[in-house]
Amino acid sequence: MSQSERRDTPEQAEFRVYCREWLASHTPGPPAVRLPQSALEIMTHEQLDYLRNWQRAAYEGGLVGCDYPREYGGGGRSDCQRIANEETARAGTPFFPNIVALGMAAPTIFHHASEELKRRLLPKIFSCEEIWCQGFSEPDAGSDMANCQTMAERTGDTWIINGQKIWTSLAQFSDWMIILCRHDRSTKHRGLTYFVLPIGDFVGKGVEIRPLIKMTGESGFNEVFFNNVEIPDSYRLDEVGNGWQVAMTTLLHERGAGPLVTPSAGSLRSDSSSETENAMMLIELAKKSPRNDKTAADDPVIRDRIMDLVIRQKGLSESFRRSRVKGLTDHLLRIPLQGKLVRTEINQEVSALALEIEGAASTLYITDENAPAKGQWPLAYLNSFGMTIAAGTSEVLRNILGERVLGMPKSK
């Protein structure tokens, strides 16, 4: 029994048993095509269809959107998504492809959209009928996101969108986009307004999507150009000029602090399930990797470095537990705001250490038949930089922590 499991409420314990039974008979068989390491690198329709079928099945089984109200297509449960995530992780299922929708769009819609939009959009997010992407970053609005220049001009009850977004994962497959636009050039943060935009309807009709290739050789993210794209005012979230506040809701969830304020939609594996998952994998890898006539697991320096990562990973998961205990944190956001930063940096170090443990064999990439672990570790290390850059670079997140939690002056 895992530690988290032993702390289940009766509802959670019952749901966990249900999930386990359901997964035993519904975990899909291996796909005919190679799967990427995450939804952010889905390249082909074959990959997407396989993953989409899986998410739909999991939704129909009650494992997606568990904590959302039933009227929005959710399961109406309480703090049960975490359980579903732990159990899917344990079962070794594929991941869900609608990651932007579940992790970012759904909670933003839940907090800021009209009742009509919530009923229209949320169920199809959970069922994966509609794929979502996020239109925040622009060529000149990266870490300085409030510098967003994509224009939204109002004419009566419609808005005309013009401009460019970049690093847009899943855009090529998307039906919808959450998009931050500028309606007023005379003021920075207050000049922003937030919309949902049915991007799929406009491809070739005002929307142009150009793929970008990652350092791994994979595609998955894109440049997206808007040329006089017209959407109704009913697709606006919250008030005109409140786009920055709405974007903060999205970012809070993207960076892992969402469960404080919103039911988790369960796109990513939960923090508690990952206990020492990644770093513990290094132990098995080290035992199999030759080094100095013994194995890497016999090298005291390698041992020390693996244990350091095991300890830091365990510390993070215990910190999330601690953040829920009244009196054991002095600032509501202190631990949640560390989540994305610490997790992605540890993951990067884990994969970097894996390459050192593999030694010469770490030069072999995913298609080489002699590559240990099918070359997944070099791929993971390359991809890990996407994670420490996207959704707020580690540097921006350290600014935010220093400013919001420790009260230091803004670095701008």
């Binding site: 537990r321 350290r398 230091m408």
Partner: protein
């Protein structure tokens, strides 16, 4: 056994933490601390045992010295999570006191389960102070390590040899001494004024505690002074070890949080180039890293304390993780706290050095980070191939 989700940290512990913080703020703030500890900067000064007995007296009136003593022996019998909470606050105040030494001796005695140990616990409940004499001249934290021999005499037993790195020996009424015979490790309760006991104070870096090596010359121990018979001491020390590691880690977390808050406050106030230095990311980001390391270490401490209370089969592993995390955190927070206080931070006048030195001391106590990562590797990976 099962850990409660909230670490067993409830309303009572919250109240204790608030009360302790208020108490130490009143009786052991930075100014009183400087006044008490830093009167004499002379690097060649004689070892001193500097502490405020009145503050300790008040703590005993609150029962804080007996929190870990089982109720059956007349103590408060509180859980490790509550004790860790108090020790953390004492660390935050860099309190010079026999608290940690006494608490750690308490856990060792409580693990012995003998009449001799119960009697010694009764002494602690009656406000006597204690310390562990469990290390040898090499400073080894291995349970088998000791330079004290126990031999059988006509009247009973006798101790000969020396214990090293005895914490707060100058504040202790009695010692719990680790001694070996051919039968193995035993534990003995020895009053500091017993004939044949000589306490030789060490000149140490840390101003917030004292340390000594102690020699034993034909020190007679009767049956009443045996906490664990030779051969039975190892099990008791193994049982108590998670608590020792957890408590010293809790002290480091409290001190680390003080270092963080003090350094962040300074970075908000101190101006250079017309801006508070906390504006500069070369200063701001490492201060955030201090916070990240503290939070990890602190979460490990509460997880380990909760394991002692509710999941003893996992306590050793979790406590070893806590000590590794806390030791690295203490090293980093100490170095950054001095660096970002600039020239002032390097002076004797700036109280930053009191915490720096306390942290450096706790870092190595009961094994440093490398030692504990090696222990953890033995647990999780298995021993190194020969």
């Amino acid at each position: 056994m099962t850990q409660p989700e909230n670490f067993g940290y409830g309303v009572e512990e919250q109240l204790l933490q608030a009360e302790a913080r208020k108490f130490f703020k009143k009786h052991c703030n930075e100014l009183t601390l400087m006044d008490l500890l830093a009167r004499n900067p002379d690097p060649e000064r004689k070892p001193e045992c500097q502490w405020d007995r009145k503050t300790w007296q008040k703590m005993t009136e609150l029962g804080w010295n007996t929190m870990a003593v089982p109720e059956s022996a007349g103590g408060l019998g509180m859980r490790a999570v509550a004790v860790a909470t108090l020790v953390e606050e004492a660390g935050r105040a860099a309190l010079p006191s026999p608290l940690m030494a006494t608490v750690n001796a308490t856990y060792v005695l409580a693990a012995c389960g003998t009449e001799g140990a119960a009697a010694a616990l009764g002494e602690i409940a009656a406000d006597k102070t204690a310390s562990l004499a469990i290390t040898n001249a090499k400073g080894s934290w291995e349970i088998s390590a000791t330079d004290v021999a126990v031999s059988f005499t006509d009247g009973g037993m006798a101790l000969n040899g020396a214990s090293w790195f005895v914490q707060d020996a100058g504040k202790a009424d009695f010692l719990v001494v680790k001694a070996a015979s051919q039968a193995g490790i035993g534990l003995f309760v020895v009053p500091v004024d017993a004939p044949g006991v000589t306490i030789i104070p060490d000149a140490i870096v840390d101003l917030s505690r004292d340390q000594a090596h102690v020699t034993f010359e034909n020190v007679a121990v009767g049956p009443a002074n045996v906490a664990a018979e030779p051969g039975r001491g190892r099990a008791a020390l193994e049982k108590a070890r998670p608590a020792l590691l957890t408590m010293v880690s809790a002290d480091m977390c409290g001190a680390g949080e003080w270092q963080l808050q003090t350094t962040a406050a300074y970075a908000r106030e101190r101006k250079q180039f017309d801006r508070p230095i906390g504006f500069f990311q070369a200063v701001k980001h490492p201060i955030v890293n201090m916070m990240i390391m503290i939070d990890s270490a602190r979460s490990h401490v509460y997880n380990a304390a909760c394991a002692i209370d509710h999941e003893p089969e996992e306590a050793d592993r979790y406590a070893t993780m806590a000590k590794a995390a806390a030791s690295d955190m203490a090293a980093f927070c100490s170095s950054r706290s001095v660096q970002y206080h600039g020239g002032m931070g390097f002076t004797w006048e700036c109280f930053i050095h009191l915490y720096f030195k306390r942290q450096k001391h706790n870092q190595v106590l009961y094994g440093d980070a490398v030692y504990h990562r090696a222990r953890l590797a033995d647990m999780l990976i298995g021993p190194v191939a020969a």
